[in-house]
Amino acid sequence: MSWQSSLGSSVARLAAIDADAAFQLFLQHTLASLSVVITIMAVGRVLILIAAARLNERPVRRKLSARSYSLDLLLPIRVARDAQASLEEVMPIWIAEWGPKRARRIWRLQIFLIVAGHYTSPILTLLERVLKIVSGRSSAE
């Protein structure tokens, strides 16, 4: 059947039905379309809610040895880089022995010790020299 004959038959059918029937047909089609759209939107919303719930339930994975900016700020860059890398290498020992939570606390304490040690080291050296002089030994030794 060609498209001309199909169109012709549709026009003939439309001409045969009255206005009320046409309105009812229009209403039915509109309601059916609306119900399909509402169903699709509802299903979409449910899917979005499920995805959001899964995202919220996913445990937050923090890196166990994140970069320490206090090392970068307070130490010379060469020392800071080496200390950071060394801490990353040593961290698995603490995790194996104490677990991730305590290992992280130890990691923070070690950062403090390294920074404090870096700044107190010259004072200790000076004290050692003073003690050597006081005790009568040569400071050149």
Partner: protein, 106 residues
């Protein structure tokens, strides 16, 4: 004569065992095998202090990930100081002369 402390002695010994251009983490692991409660921060500071005392030599080395690291090698002065410290311990606290390990029993 350079008098060194116990942690310095352990760190020097660990550095000697770890070989040339040893990284701080490798030295710390060796120190841990001898002293379980050694803090990494204390060992790291000790390494810096020993370098300033010229008992350790510091050089830049690349690690496995291509990062520039501080490599530590014991110097001649470091070996002498370590030998002095170990000899002093052996002379003063020679356990065999003092009656073996029984004297340490509490």
């Amino acid at each position: 004569l350079t008098v060194i402390g116990k942690l310095e002695e352990l760190t020097l010994l660990a550095c000697l065992r770890a070989g040339n251009d040893a990284l701080a983490s490798a030295i710390y692991e060796r120190v841990l095998s001898g002293q379980q409660n050694a803090a990494f921060g204390a060992v790291y500071t000790t390494l810096t202090r020993l370098t300033k005392k010229k008992l350790l030599d510091e050089s830049a080395v690349k690690d496995g990930r291509g990062r520039e690291r501080r490599g530590f090698t014991i110097t001649g002065a470091g070996r002498r100081a370590l030998a002095e410290a170990l000899n002093a311990s052996a002379t003063v606290g020679g356990l065999s002369q003092a009656g073996g390990a029984d004297v340490l029993a509490v």
